[in-house]
Symmetry: D2
Subunit: 313 residues, 4 copies
């Protein structure tokens, strides 16, 4: 198993690029990986919920996986979403990820009509046993419909140490982050949800965040200052961009906004959200431009720009 402790800091959930007609745009993947790596994140996660993994065919999944891992080429660790309704299929996805060189996999609870701890544990343990990779436990009831207690996740981690990384997205996240950290010093707790509660999660002992956000540099700057002991500086960066974080993290609009930002920044060729998903309405596009201008990020929409001044100070 790779170094599980690499799962900290900022991991960016990358979107899956599509062509205007909805076909997979694998040609954009190398540039996307380079772009994300250049933002200074600690890792990237592909094929997550906001990577539209649920809208891909199996061959498309494999193509995204192969292209991303080839582009990463060992220069940045890659976590791969492997969630599936069937345990066997999640295992197949996890093995494919391992064979392709993934650092870790991310697994949400399967859609169980009656999600008991026993059924969840079987699913997680089966996947964990099938690969020699960290298994990030995705705790996102809004998409999975499953609430996992602190006690369940701590017990799972004790039983299968590769499952000791939690992507915490049950709101409100800060108190649960605190309870998870208190439950076991072994747990690695990462936030999500667009980074909206990043500062407070860090304050409760979280180890970083694994989330999509159009300007990962902001999150990198917050976490970097925090880790270096500069909590005031971390908060100052966070608060400065809080209005953007809030804006991007709108229900239903977060992915279209994020893909538009990535496209404007040159990371992907098209902002297409796969149907029946929709592009943002014109008002939302105008609002995005307005908020970017207000926080001074509009000038960083030129291709390839990576905000060194933000990272610097």
């Amino acid at each position: 198993m790779g170094d599980i402790t690499a799962l900290r800091g900022v991991w960016n959930i990358v979107p899956t690029p599509f062509l205007p007609d909805g076909a997979l745009d694998t040609a954009s993947i190398p540039g996307l990986v380079r772009f994300v790596r250049a933002t200074g994140v600690d890792g990237l996660t592909i094929l997550g919920v906001l990577g539209e993994a649920g809208r891909l065919g199996d061959a498309e999944r494999s193509a995204v996986l192969a292209a991303a891992l080839e582009a990463a080429d060992g220069t940045i660790p890659v976590c791969v979403g492997v969630s599936h309704a069937a345990t066997d299929r999640a295992i197949a996805f996890a093995r494919e990820a391992q064979n392709a060189g993934a650092h870790s996999v991310m697994l949400a609870p399967p859609p169980l009509a009656r999600p008991t701890d026993a059924a969840l544990r079987r699913h997680y343990l089966a996947v964990a046993a099938a690969v020699d990779l960290p298994v990030v436990v995705q705790d996102h009831p809004a998409s999975s419909g499953v609430q996992m207690s602190v006690e369940f996740m701590a017990a799972l981690a004790a039983e299968a140490p590769s499952c000791r990384v939690i992507k915490l997205e049950e709101e409100p996240t800060p108190p649960k982050a605190g309870r998870l950290v208190a439950a076991s010093p072994e747990l690695i707790v990462l936030g999500g949800l667009g980074g909206e509660m990043l500062l407070e999660e860090l304050g409760r002992g979280s180890h970083g965040t694994m989330t999509g956000f159009g300007f990962p540099e902001v999150l990198v700057a917050v976490v970097g200052r925090w880790r270096s002991g500069d909590r005031v500086g971390a908060a100052a960066v966070f608060d400065r961009y809080a209005t953007l974080v809030r804006f991007e993290n709108q229900a239903l609009l977060n992915l279209p906004i994020r893909k538009l930002v990535y496209q404007r920044r040159g990371a992907i060729a098209h902002a297409t959200v796969r149907a029946p998903g929709m592009p943002p309405d014109a008002g939302t596009v105008a609002d995005l431009e307005d908020v970017l201008r207000r926080v001074g990020l509009d000038r960083h929409l030129a291709a390839g720009s990576v905000l060194p001044e933000l990272l610097a100070g």
Copy 2:
């Protein structure tokens, strides 16, 4: 397009057979198709929700499709579930079904966070335009999370006549069946939900049922009598087996019970439900045996038996 009016009477939703280790059991498919055909149903439907389609990989789907169509060999029409979160993928599934010789496809609403009529219509129209097959509109809010109004479905059918078959599973079904039939004489309304309200649905003008049930002969006998004008006889058959229908249609247990019945009847080699699904508990197995004995169907569990006496009278 094949004859859309073939979508009436009794269509059996067939389960997908798995080996004890969870692997796909394609070897069981020819026998399964023969078994179902011998029950006298008008058609069969593969890869539905209770066909565990959501637990299959794409290659497994293709294998089930190919095996079922080859086994049917034109002797019985086959409807193929093609539901997917992405419009493009549903289209790909539908085209694959058409190429394999399917009679029709079945399509549930995609999982939309905000399911508007406009988004649903786009999804259905895109699939309908991509193939020359009837598209059965699956109205099952319990699994899709989407409620479709009578007005929506009637308008959709007017716009795309291939979408004028409704698999109605929004409870309570009888009143909605009546409203659908009243909304347009073009609509073909099929019930579902294990046949639990079959009699009342027919009474409101439904055209039959498309559902899983371990003894399809019972539903065939009910619908046959009804169609021939023998409503009293139809009710007598239904009421006699109502306690079994009620028992099999239990939440979460319906699929495990049904697979067990199919296995006992020799239709499939194993009753395996794919993990994280579970087999029925011992008490449920005992209850099944008890209720089958009470309604006199226990003696029909021998391999291949098809209840000619039920069909006869």
Copy 3:
């Protein structure tokens, strides 16, 4: 505390009668209580979910409570629904019930955005401590949105013995009934859900049922035979009426159907469901008449008839 073991057998959830204009019809309550008592049930439960308790004002609740207890007059025990979103209000309701002479109270989980075991336990313990009455724990996730584990309910009963009666309505009920009974010999498990799984619940060790049903005599006959050791006879009665049980237990229609049956049987003056609830559509009324005729209960719709022949044999 009254005899908690009286909570077994058949307890009928009685509807709340309204006048055609929606006003409370307290004048019907004495006759309703007499009617239900004459069906041979062991107790009756007022102000439950299907007693439309949520549609009453506090003064109306008090009026129903007073009228029902006065009518019961100690001749039959009365359980009173006291569910409320606030712990203090549930306590106030429970005390009012105790003062009026109730045998027991019924309490559903409060609507908690994040229902943890700790919060549920606090709510139940506070109500249990405030009165000297059995507290029936209503386990009905479909209305409460809360799933309670067997472990939680067994632990609660161990901590507060007055909370050891479970009204079990988490589907599928038979396996959970078995697990509850196995978890603690102290638990008293009652089914519900219109009696649809009564037979199988008894088979797993349940102690009866607390449910609404238009012909409580049927349930009384089933449980009576079961208790006397005549399981075959119990099943025969159940199966004979299974088609009616299934029909009445339709989602959304169960209450309108039940009130209509009660009105036809002379138990209440009007079948009114309080707005925005609606009466059954004409087709459902016709279906009811048809199914009653088929099971031979149509002739028992005359006022006051109580099916002695069913009870007899």
Copy 4:
């Protein structure tokens, strides 16, 4: 009917004060009303969801209503939440509000198992016909479980002009605000959700916000600048406090945080949330203090302070 166009600008949803033991604290209500009025809001709304109306008994509701209206004494208009599961009870609440001198009432969809437009319309029209007051339509699917389309709300407003004020809380709110405004110039659209999307809602043509927030002055300042044409100034105020808005608007924690802020500001004597609600955890309290300090509002926690400098500039 009072002037419906008064429903614009900022209306503060006020919390209901409780004593530490959970009893209603009517003594705090006059000070609460004075405090809110002094923040410069256009009106206040009592007995809303975050006013914990669902946790009150009818007599308690009446006490809050009487105390608030007496304290307001015509100096500030008061909107009264009258939502109830029964149409008759909502009418009774609305009449009581009218008799007490309320400016308007607020009504959420009733909890209907199958919320059709027809049933919703009947409920709204019945309440609107019963009083001579504006009826604010609360569009908050997260608490009501009901999604209302733009078409439905526009048609309702056309049929009952007193229902033409929408409290819009279906996320994402900005696009729907734009669609509502475009659907009819008669509609008055108010945001909510803690003000988190206030700026973007105004940009789409909303008329203000009706929401709880611990520092209503911030919202007043944003809306005031916007109305005077100073959009840049409005955005500057909003962005400065966006990190606080985001923090307070956390799921489940919003009410406990808000009550704590109100208590610290001297508006209410105790921050008690009625059980089974809970106070904020210690970490959340610390986080609140931290974020208040960062935005410079910590020094305004002294009793009675109303931020004249914010209002000034």
